[in-house]
Symmetry: C2
């Protein structure tokens, strides 16, 4: 009656496994590309699947406003709407609503806010968030949480975490179990290990199909992110998937996998692709940089993506300088392929019991080569 | 030593044939998608080929400025640079340079102009235009012409046409014949049938591998365009390809094919695709129109393109409203498929001797349905 999760191999705290959903299975650790407005930007669904991704993330906030959850339901659900036959996880809308700042007001009931599109008034409660995600047809539904800002006083973090727990209970109660569908709770608690632990323990009492760690990667730094993961993971059931929300750079993913995280999402590979940034085995490259202008070599000779098998760095440089849509298409495809291959590399390393050798491996690039030597 | 052209069937003045170039053969009548800056906007080369296109147009003006003709040559030529294995026709740069207005000055020698990108000074002569097109590796090179503006006094049109003829002679002399490569002359003469005829006759004396009709579709109206084609075609050799530049809407293509035109180019299908316009068997649709918001039907149930086989009108409406790149990708693919299928339909009609029945056929849509009934 829920999503399946089978752990196939372990290496230290890391796990290699398989999620089973109503729309196919996903090998973990997995990275989920962001499909905010019912499309992974600059990609066809076939193109997304070709990178290796078998699950994407949809955004409740964006979709409830445009085109509307009821409309998507009437059109057969989000999978059919966006022609994506594989799994979909939807966020709860909480993160986006919180970022509206002046346009929203949080109460016990939920979040009252105004649309950034037309100013219309909306109320997002735990019950409505779960209903929207049901209308969308999400394989994995997320409980509504308050994403606590950073930095903020401890008592505010604690109050926010407690509100998230009450919302988690209401979210769980509102969720209608169906085979192959599940709901995840979200651990909050800011940068306080004891609050993280308490949040996790209380969510486990409520009982979810998986557990997310939220409210991180918002400026606290990698060491703190990892410390919060370390405080949280022991409080979570070992047989259920763990999802670190909004993370991250390749090095963040490698580190968190070693801590026992199974799932990730981040705008980095897609957003970077639209601004000329590429992740490669030799580091992060800025294709706008003039040093690529006459370079006949591919972006990454080891990569199997359409950008690397068909074109030179000089061509990709030209496209980014000219502002061509094809630059976004090719670099997004490349970055998602890089992320998918990184996750595959991690899974293979776990299966082989050689994850410790992965830290400095060819798949883990140093940050932003081009920021050091601008040509 | 030139491009081959074989006429396989005739129906009235219309011809069905095959162009043979160094990069494969093209069935005519053919429509050439525009690949201005070494990319058909919002399309991968594979995607362009999947529409049925086997020749694209590259722009000398844009490419000489960015990334530069010598750089493209050093990188193996335009085919390799943009990963397009099929044929390429390059324009002479004349049309774009003329449109720079304040930034250019025409003399007997050529056109002095300043780049719209960085203000740098350039001189485009017939010899340099041909050299650039050689560096790009164009299968079909165009002679440098002055595209006479419209409307303008007759003596100005005549002087411009005479200049184009002198430039045509210099272009022809500068062209280096190679197997599978050819150069086309461009007929000018404004809206004056006698000037058109004289221009054509003199070009034929010079002797080109094909003949283009230029300076039309710039505001003179379809009836005048067709009248100029009618004045020109009898003066052209029957065994050489004829190319009507910058044309056009589906109805323009059908009409001009009936007059004996073999090749076309136009920004319409690609540019329209990026603004939410789609060509369909039931007319031109504006996907931004609210009446598509809940329509689960495909754009065109008879179409084989990725947009029509994978998605609903409601989804395409959503993508255009949200300004998603995927809207441009899917609608460009659709419109180019529509144009390719229209040309295939015309070729089949000519082969079957049934072109007269094609005028009101299912492939010929009425203009802009949505402009009449905005929902």
């Amino acid at each position: 009656m829920t999503i399946g999760f089978e752990i196939l191999a372990r290496d230290g705290a890391a796990r290699m496994g398989r999620l089973a959903t109503a729309h196919g299975s996903i090998e973990t650790p997995a990275f989920m590309p962001i499909g905010t407005a019912a499309t992974v930007k600059a990609m066809t669904p076939d193109g997304v699947a070709a990178t290796g991704a078998r699950i994407v993330l949809g955004n409740t906030y964006h979709l409830m406003l445009r085109p509307g959850a009821e409309r998507i339901a009437a059109l057969g659900g989000l999978h059919r709407f966006m022609n994506w036959p594989h799994a979909i996880l939807t966020d709860s809308g909480g993160f986006q609503v919180m970022s509206l700042a002046a346009l929203r007001k949080i109460s016990e009931e939920g979040v009252a806010f105004r649309s950034h599109l037309d100013g219309s008034a909306h109320l997002l409660t735990p019950e409505r968030s779960i209903e929207i995600q049901h209308l969308l047809g999400a394989d994995i539904t997320m409980a509504l949480d308050e994403c606590t800002p950073f930095p903020v006083e401890r008592d505010q973090v604690e109050a926010s975490m407690e509100l998230t727990l009450r919302w988690a209970e209401r979210s769980r109660a509102a969720f209608k179990p169906r085979p192959g569908h599940g709901i995840f709770g979200i651990v909050q608690g800011g940068v306080h290990p004891d609050l993280r632990e308490r949040s996790a323990a209380r969510l486990v009492e409520i009982g979810f199909d998986g557990y997310a760690i939220g409210g991180l990667a918002i400026g606290e730094g990698q060491a703190t992110t990892f410390a919060m993961v370390e405080a949280t993971v022991p409080a979570l059931p070992p047989d259920r998937p763990r999802y670190l929300m909004g993370v991250g750079k390749p090095a963040d993913l490698v580190g968190a996998v070693r801590q026992g995280i199974d799932m990730f999402d981040c705008v980095l590979p897609t957003r970077s692709g639209r601004t000329g940034q590429a992740f490669t085995r030799e580091g992060t490259l800025n294709l706008r940089n003039a040093r690529h202008a006459e370079d006949a070599a591919p972006l990454d000779p080891q990569c199997r993506c359409p950008a690397c098998t068909g074109f030179s760095r000089a061509y990709l440089h030209h496209l980014t300088k000219a502002g061509e849509i094809l630059a976004s298409m090719l670099l997004t495809a490349h970055n998602l392929t890089y992320y998918a291959d990184l996750m595959r590399g991690l899974r293979e390393a776990i299966a082989a019991g050689r994850l410790s050798e992965f830290a400095g491996a060819e798949l883990l690039p140093p940050p932003l080569l081009d920021e050091r030597k601008v040509g």
